[in-house]
């Protein structure tokens, strides 16, 4: 089956090329057909490969396909090769499956756009690069996808490029990602000169083997450096502190793009990368500590920023940043599978949330301000129910998907094998963040769907449920938000329910085998006793319920006046959070402004004045001046020459007389 792997990225590539080159002349039906079927085919191929993968022995579940030797210089060899193992399989199914749904949704959402063909072509291009990212068999192919999805993101954020702010947001996303990629590239270099290869199947076994033979100590500086550098790349792509600032602005793109790229798939690439590199991270506990602390800080920090946003998509954007933080907590505390588990459930419910918000925005004729909404539940029942499902899922209430994955992560953080104390702290931040999440998500639900409609007459008249090609993906995603968690039921619950197996953890086990061994050997992880595990679980549910109740009290019971009163009472705090802690402004002042003015200085002073003015034109000026003096001697007047002759004569006579 491995000889068909290339089909998965090939179909979207064809879709992109056909629609991109000829789409302008096609009808919209044909464009939709091409764009959706290509992704559908990719999904089907992925399903077939999955079937074959399951038929293999668990420890041999690896397929590799090499297309051609890409670069070969000296010892450096990189193939354009794909690899399917359980990890990339899970990613591949998520990406192609959700992409397919969002393509269908887009046929409804973007139908009236004049550049429909361009939109669909870009979307296919994104899926192509995303498949490259997750299917690549080495870091360089991963990097192709890594930067490629950045390009797709850049083009789609700035899709409505006539709005200048959209173009600025696109550029910001690209540049911030480039800062991350700077770290990623250096990490690759260090890895290559350490292990002599960048191919997964060379590096990881070699690292594990070197560790076993004592050639590689645990927590050696070089491993920490590699892992931290790669993680810098992840902070860019996956919007973690300090490089998260591009993601909220990226909401300038069309909403399905926010759902696909900026929630479900692309931004999770960093989590995938860390999980993929698990052997190296496990060998560098300090790097894991960095990852999990930054992740926990991001999870809470971004959640608080979501509290006061009024733009429905901005709320979801900060929520995405925060949820990505949870995923990184998972992979950061060596619970790699849990990170991937949350990645999966998050893909379902966050895609659903964004698509629902798209449906709302569609109904509101493009208005995204929640202060103008309210009471939409009656007019848009499908959107309401599906969004409620997804909201409960993200808030972490059982038996919805988010409960299982988030709880697994927090439980594993509590028992962080390398740094137990830090683990407790991370768990604490994560639990508080979970309460905040429940609060702002239900605030969104209450402001949007409950109470009185606060928009204009015209909007009220226009509000309608979306067509089937938009609601069908919502229903499918909402269903998965409900049942998605059952792929990874924790053992403690599974036992009670009559041995429900943890399918996902089991499936992913071979990928994390080396890491699990190393962790077991190094840290002797202690098991959390069962009662404690139950109480941790209960606690996180209680925290979520408190958050929901608080939101209900403030926005439903007290309605309008309490939020305003609170805003006045805590105006300083309110302003700080409302303005997102002024992080954008600080970056502007500390980084952008100095670099810009330094550049102007270099240009005007160093280049134009010093080098060109003094260094280059200076000698020319000097020669001119000197020759102006010398020119006096040859001004063409006989009188002057006569005077010179006389002076010469006098000089000579004097010389001879007084010698």
């Amino acid at each position: 089956m491995e000889k068909y792997i290339f089909l998965i990225p090939l179909f979207p590539l064809l879709g992109f090329l056909i629609n991109g080159l000829f789409g302008k002349k096609f009808g919209k039906g044909l464009i939709s057909f091409i764009a959706c079927t290509t992704i559908g085919f990719s999904f089907l191929v992925a399903l077939f490969i999955w079937k074959d993968l399951l038929a293999m022995e668990p420890e041999h579940r690896i397929m590799v396909q090499t297309l051609w030797e890409w670069m070969a210089v000296g010892s450096f060899k990189v193939d354009l090769a794909f690899m399917i193992d359980p990890l990339s399989m899970v990613m591949c199914l998520i990406v192609t499956g959700i992409s397919f749904l969002i393509h269908i949704y887009s046929t409804g959402y973007m139908w009236d756009d004049e550049s429909y063909w361009r939109y669909m072509a870009y979307l296919n291009m994104f899926v192509f690069f995303m498949c490259m990212l997750i299917l690549g068999a080495n870091y360089v192919v991963m990097f192709v996808g890594w930067e490629g999805v950045g390009l797709a993101s850049y083009l789609l954020i700035g899709f409505w490029y006539q709005g200048y702010d959209n173009a600025i947001a696109g550029k910001k996303a690209f540049v911030v990602n480039r800062i991350g990629d700077f770290g990623f590239v250096l990490g690759m270099f260090l890895m290559f000169w350490t292990f002599g290869s960048l191919s997964y199947l060379d590096v990881f076994p070699k690292a594990a083997e070197m560790y076993e033979h004592g050639a590689l100590a645990i927590n050696s500086p070089v491993m920490i450096a590699i892992c931290v550098l790669l993680f810098i790349g992840a902070t860019g792509k996956s919007a973690q502190i300090p490089l998260y600032v591009w993601l909220p602005d990226a909401m300038a793109g069309p909403t399905p793009v926010s759902a696909l790229i900026h929630a479900a798939t692309m931004v999770t690439a960093g989590v995938y990368m860390v999980a993929r590199t698990n052997v190296l991270y496990t060998l560098a506990p300090t790097a894991l500590l960095v990852v999990s602390l930054i992740a926990a800080a991001t999870a809470l920090f971004a959640a608080t920023m979501g509290i006061l946003q009024n733009d429905i998509k901005k709320v979801l954007a900060y929520s995405t940043v925060s949820q990505l933080g949870y995923m990184f907590i998972g992979v950061g505390v060596t619970a790699y599978w849990a990170g991937i588990f949350h990645l999966m459930t998050h893909a379902f419910f966050k895609a659903c949330l964004f698509l629902c918000s798209g449906s709302v925005i569609h109904a509101m004729s493009g208005d995204q301000d929640m202060r103008h909404m309210g009471g939409l539940a009656k007019k848009m029942p499908i959107t309401y129910i599906t969004m409620l499902f997804a909201t409960i899922a993200i808030a972490g209430l059982p038996p919805f998907a988010g409960f299982f994955s988030k709880d697994e992560i927090l439980g594993k953080a509590f028992a962080f094998p390398y740094y137990p104390m830090a683990g407790k702290f991370i768990w604490f931040l994560g639990t508080v963040g979970a309460g905040v999440t429940a609060f702002y998500m239900f605030r969104l639900i209450f402001m949007t769907f409950h109470g009185e409609f606060r928009g204009t007459e015209e909007q009220a008249h226009h509000v309608h449920e979306s067509p089937l090609n938009m609601t069908l993906p919502l229903m499918i995603l909402a269903t998965f938000s409900l049942i998605g968690g059952w792929f990874g039921v924790p053992a403690i619950i599974g036992e009670k329910l009559g041995d429900v197996p943890n399918l996902l953890e089991h499936f992913l086990e071979p990928v994390f085998e080396h890491s699990n061994h190393i962790v077991a050997a190094v840290a002797h992880p202690h098991h959390v006793p069962e009662p404690l595990e139950w109480s941790l679980m209960t606690l996180s549910v209680v925290v979520a319920i408190i958050g929901i109740c608080l939101a209900y009290y403030i926005y439903m019971v007290r309605g309008k006046e309490l939020p305003e009163k609170l805003a006045k009472q805590y105006s300083w705090h309110y302003q700080l959070i409302y303005n997102k802690y002024y992080v954008d402004e600080i970056y502007e002042l500390m980084i952008v402004w100095p670099i810009y003015h330094l550049s102007v200085l270099l240009w005007k002073v160093v280049d134009a004045f010093m080098i060109d003015g003094i260094g280059v034109n200076g000698p020319g000026w000097l020669v001119k001046r000197l020759s102006a003096g010398a020119r006096l001697a040859q001004n063409g007047y006989v009188q002057t020459y006569g005077a010179f002759m006389l002076m010469g004569l006098v000089a000579m006579v004097c010389f001879y007389l007084y010698r």
Partner: protein, 523 residues
């Protein structure tokens, strides 16, 4: 293979000259025939150069297609030509780029068409000769001849300050060249003293042992001449002026090929002739390369003129080439040679693209544009692709070059690699910021409302460049495998000989990774 293929290719462009001289340029049709002849001559040259492609044997480390005839016997000066894997792609780049450039002048150059096209053809011959000459005297002759048509192209067909720019270009280059000439003679003198043989043959002069002081001085003089051409910081200020004032075709040739003369000079002459001198100056050159990368990018960022922005970006890109060359690892050197080709393609394409809107709007100021994407969609798409290639997005050519250079640099000098890699971020900033201001947003300037999109002729000269951008990006091995052996030879030539008098290079090559006891991956 006994036909003197290099001579054919080098002098084929000149065959167009008498025909052009015979034409009248009074009528439009006459001008078109002149342009047609020039295009034809350069196309024939390109086709002839393909013969080199098929006949070239990449497994030979030394020179191929050698032609060696006595010229001025009493001084041991020969007409001596040859090619190896380093000059191979540069020659093909020259023959490939020239017809495209001539095609781009069809409407842009309308006065003195005859003289212009003759200049172009003479220039092509001089450039090709420079790349294949193996006799220092012959090389010097081509090197200097090259200046004259370029001087005329800037000075006659240039913009407002063309005279200033042309003289600056000429003087800058001439200063370096004269010092180089003195040192060529000095080198021949030392060789004569030791062997009693008077020769300008490069292959014989390699390995001449020169007193250390003189070797360092000679290297410095050669390096000065070439560094001006590259151009390396702080010798770069002729470049923005020359680019801004030169007509589009002049900028394309200047950026695409003439700048490569500098880097080519380093790896053909300065470094292998004076390895000890080269080693002595290595820290300085690496430092200046890195300053060039960052400085060029920063200054490019704040330029109000698109052409000047691209000119400063050349300073940055050529910094990468010099860095790759000087770290003396296989990845670095091959990346460097590839990056020279890439820069010829991408920056050449950028200048051509700037020329397209200049012809329509007669301005190159960024603030005069805005929202062009809606008016000229095809143009914008191609501009975007070239931009991505320039900022080194994977799957385009720029990525391969930068990646290999940085990878090779990282092995010997981590700090240099880190600093140079930051240029990749700045590259994205200045290019995308420019793209944003020129192409996105509403059309604010009514003059831009009715600009026509690309016509067929413009597509004809841009499309081959776009194809090459992806070709190199996806199949770099096709290009790299021609130079493996020659690069190995080059490194051994420069490194081994440098090892004896100056151990710096070797020390730098040993990498130490704390905490790991891995033997370095063997080359």
């Amino acid at each position: 293979m006994n036909a003197p293929i290099l001579t054919y290719v080098t002098f084929l462009p000149l065959f167009g000259v008498p025909f052009i001289l015979a034409m009248s340029q009074k009528s439009d049709s006459g001008k078109n025939i002149i342009r047609g002849i020039a295009l034809f001559a350069s196309l024939i040259t390109f086709i002839a150069s393909l013969r080199i492609y098929f006949a070239f044997d990449p497994s030979i480390a030394g020179f191929q297609f050698i032609e060696d005839h006595p010229w001025i016997n009493s001084y041991g000066i020969h007409y001596h030509m040859g090619m190896d894997g380093l000059s191979f792609w540069l020659v093909l780049l020259t023959t490939f780029l020239t017809p495209l450039t001539i095609l781009s002048t069809w409407r842009a150059i309308d006065s003195r068409v005859k003289e212009f096209q003759i200049s172009m053809l003479v220039l092509e011959t001089a450039m090709l000769g420079t790349f294949v000459a193996l006799d220092l005297f012959l090389f010097y002759v081509f090197w200097e001849i090259m200046l004259i048509p370029m001087y005329l192209i800037i000075g006659v067909w240039g913009g407002e300050r063309r005279i200033y720019a042309a003289i600056k270009f000429f003087l800058y280059t001439a200063v370096g060249s004269l010092l180089m000439l003195v040192c060529i003679i000095g080198l021949v003198y030392f060789h004569h003293q030791q062997t009693g043989e008077m020769t300008f043959n490069l292959l014989s002069l390699y390995g001449t042992s020169i007193p250390r002081f003189y070797e360092i001085m000679f290297f410095a003089a050669f390096a000065l001449a070439f560094a001006i051409k590259v151009p390396m910081f702080p010798l770069h200020t002729w470049l923005p002026d020359a680019h801004v004032e030169a007509p589009t075709a002049g900028s394309v040739i200047l950026a695409g090929i003439l700048l490569k003369m500098g880097t080519y000079g380093f790896f053909r002459f300065a470094m292998p002739l004076f390895p000890a001198g080269s080693a002595y100056f290595t820290p300085l050159i690496i430092t200046l390369s890195i300053i060039g990368i960052i400085y060029g990018a920063l200054v490019a960022m704040v330029q109000p003129d698109i052409k000047k922005l691209v000119a400063y970006s050349s300073v940055s890109h050529l910094g990468y080439c010099m860095l790759g060359l000087y770290v003396l690892t296989r990845q670095g050197v091959e990346g460097s040679v590839l990056q020279m080709i890439n820069h010829g393609i991408s920056t050449g394409a950028l200048f051509l693209l700037v020329g397209v809107v200049y012809e329509r709007r007669h301005t190159r100021l960024i603030k005069e544009y805005g929202g062009i994407a809606r008016i000229m969609p095809v143009y914008s798409t191609i501009f975007m692709i070239v931009t991505l290639s320039s900022i080194g997005l994977p799957t385009t050519n720029g990525f391969i070059g930068e990646f290999l250079i940085l990878l090779g640099t990282f092995k010997v000098n981590k700090l240099a690699a880190v600093l140079a890699a930051s240029g990749v971020i700045l590259g994205a900033v200045y290019m995308l910021w420019m793209v944003q201001r020129v192409f996105f947003g509403e059309v604010t300037n009514p003059k831009n409302e009715n600009i026509p999109d690309l016509n067929l002729r413009e597509l004809a000269y841009l499309a081959p460049l776009v194809v090459l951008i992806f070709w190199i990006g996806l199949f770099p091995n096709f290009f790299l495998k021609k130079m493996h052996v020659s690069v190995d030879h080059f490194i051994s030539q420069v490194k081994v000989e440098a090892a004896a008098p100056s151990p710096q290079v070797h020390q730098a090559a040993a990498i130490e990774l704390p905490g790991v006891t891995v033997a370095m991956a063997k080359e």
